[in-house]
Symmetry: C2
Subunit: 411 residues, 2 copies
């Protein structure tokens, strides 16, 4: 059994790096804070006897040898980068639950047949750099390494430069090895487990995700002397369009989601009519056909608002740009069953569920068998500084991870 | 008569500082670019025989002695700070037309009865720091010096610190002296003169301006797992509210204006439901009563959207904050008449008009007699990198300024 207090303490210590005023975390991918977090956690992993390797996209693989090192490793992990106003648990719980499993095995001198691995994936959150789930996506061959390295943040800083600066431009070729299995423990980030008072979610797969940028182009002009009928106001069109887009999931409940999270106005000056607005659209659904239908409707809305704004002196153009598409992804039935049976052995309540958030596990599912272990989080809130979880639930999740990994690796 | 080519060359030389890719200017108030612009122009003013003084808010007064220096100076001027994507003429024309007048007088050894002054006002644009028209507002006693010095930009940098850094924290007490008259030459920033093929606008007064911030507060949460009915989406409410606000001038045409120019989303991450939006509202009208009516309607809209979003799991709050209010301001009839008669003497077409943009002259109108001289600008466009004006029109405007100043100062 894992040590729940030690796990909690590790979470709280990591959360001191990039701590925010409201009790959350800001450790954006490949910033100085992320670097400091990586140093802390890799130090712990080495102290538990693991050997580190870093690949070209900065993914960290910490290996614990097995009796038969020719077997592919049984892996676990997640990410430690956060949202700009993120919490202490999203991602960190998966990495530190993996660490805790290794610490327990080390303490008791337990050997496994297959080697074990704890992985820290680069830039899962996608809020500084897109594509999201970048490190796992590159590892799985879904995102070309060159594309990932060339991605830039809003200030024009690239992934490649940030990897160099933080010292995490590793020399291991990406996609170097397969996993025998990949388990990822994570807070649910939704309200279901808490509301139903269930401790463990056995995740059967993920909602598909389709990301876009919408660019609305008018013309900047002075807010004072420019008469209303001569305005090419990009914000006016953007706001009307967002209002329409945010109804796109109404017909596809309960599994449809639509979000506009990023929204940037140019030149963003109080007495200038906005000349350009660029905003993001995030569509999600469990069924590929419905996700495609939502995409069609998004296209139609953009065309409609473009067409409605072509009058001579008020022209505003709307352009839709695809950013990323991750289809709905089912997980591996035999591993899902291991999560269920480990929960049963531990006398923990559990249920099957889907994940609405993307996870590194979703990328890995493209090449190796994966499963995820969810635990409840307070009010279902995440991507928020007040994100919270119960120590007992986190401990339970880590115990399920321990049993499932041992079962799969062989003792 | 002024030298139109020399005036144009001065404009183009100043525009090299903070030049933007699309041919515009970015010389935000009290930045390094603004400092470099001030050095250039004050060098020219000194070379034309003027003496500089800088007050505590960084306003620069360049004086040319008169025969009777006990008389209050006849002043002209404007600003050389720009919008983030501003043009080469807004403000700069007024300052450099003043410089050109001084150069002509210097060349011909012309003495005036009253002293003359060219003034460069600090932070007219208000896009880095509010209040807008800050230097002239402090000089006129409409904005307390302490409030202006304490104003900060989006990065928390203050006016006081920026004045120190750029070397423009002067020692002359603000509001040190009155003007006998203040003339300001400016591009119209609207379409009227160009469309009517008239060269000179004799400005009779300005639209009132009322500025606000609206803060819309929901709760950030994850775009994937958070079901639609549990969202407290600040962007959704903000977009609906902006759509309503932008109709606020419809009933008050042709003199009503409403603009939302600044719009910031927090935390502005692609997979986070926005927790907060803060946007600006700029209301303008020529009549105080109508401006007050528009303000009342804005209040009512904010209350309506606040009230409409109090359902338990979707609560979003709307708050309206007043930022600045400059009432409609009439200019001095005797100076307006001088602008008309100077135009007539020069055989230039002219008409009376109001200004929709605020100007330093509007602040000075609170304490001393003022008038403004407008010239046409291309397509009525300003606060835009493609802002443009005809050299001949600028020359004409500077000649009207020359005659009006001489008439008022006495030769
Ligand atoms: N787990 C998580 O927050 N992933 C970020 C990717 C997403 O937007 O779903
Ligand atoms: N002239 C000018 O652009 N002034 C800025 C103040 C305003 O917004 O009217």
């Amino acid at each position: 059994r894992v040590d729940g207090k030690r796990l909690w303490d590790a979470l709280m210590t990591l959360a001191e790096i990039g701590a925010t005023p409201k009790g959350g975390n800001c450790r954006l991918a490949l910033t100085e804070e992320d670097r400091a977090g990586r140093e802390l956690v890799t130090g712990w992993l080495e102290a538990a006897g693991l050997t580190l390797r870093v690949d070209e996209i900065g993914n960290i693989f910490a290996r614990r040898p097995g009796r038969d090192d020719s077997l592919p490793p049984i892996a676990t992990g997640s990410h430690i980068d956060t949202q700009p106003t993120g919490g202490k648990f999203d991602g960190c719980f998966g990495v530190l639950a993996g660490l805790e499993v290794m610490r327990v095995l080390d303490e008791h001198g337990i050997e496994t047949e297959a080697p074990l691995e704890v992985v820290i994936w680069t830039n899962e959150e996608g809020s500084r750099f897109v594509p999201v789930m970048m490190g796992s996506g590159v590892h799985a061959g879904l995102i070309p390494l060159e594309k990932a390295l060339a991605a830039t943040d809003r200030d024009g800083d690239s992934v490649a430069a940030s990897l160099e600066r933080t010292g995490y431009a590793g020399d291991v070729a990406v996609g170097s090895h397969d996993f025998g299995a990949y388990f990822e423990a994570h807070i649910e980030q939704g309200p279901v487990l808490e509301q139903e008072e269930i401790t463990i979610g056995a995740v059967t797969g993920s909602l598909g995700l389709h990301w876009f940028d919408v660019v609305v182009s008018g013309q900047e002009a002075h807010a004072g002397p420019t008469p209303m009928p001569y305005r090419r106001d990009a914000l006016k069109t953007a706001c009307a369009l967002v209002s329409d887009i945010l109804t796109l999931a109404d017909d596809y409940q309960p599994n449809g989601r639509v979000t506009c999270g990023e929204f940037n106005v140019h030149p963003n000056s109080r007495n200038v009519i906005p000349g350009q607005v660029r905003f993001s659209v995030d569509l999600r659904h469990l069924e590929p056909a419905v996700l495609a239908e939502m995409h069609d409707q998004l296209k139609a809305l953009c065309l409609k608002h473009h067409a409605a704004n072509q009058a001579d002196k008020q022209r505003v153009d709307v352009e839709l740009i695809e950013v990323q598409h991750i289809p709905p992804t089912p997980f591996a039935p035999e591993l899902i069953e291991m999560v269920r049976s480990a929960s049963q052995e531990l006398n923990l309540s559990f249920r099957d569920m889907e994940t609405g958030a993307g996870h590194d596990a979703v990328q890995i599912a493209g090449i190796n068998p994966v499963a995820m272990i969810f635990v409840p989080c307070e009010d279902g809130i995440s991507h928020n500084e007040s994100e919270n979880a119960e120590p007992a639930d986190l401990e339970a999740g880590a115990n399920v991870l321990l049993l499932a990994m041992l079962k799969r690796a062989g003792v």
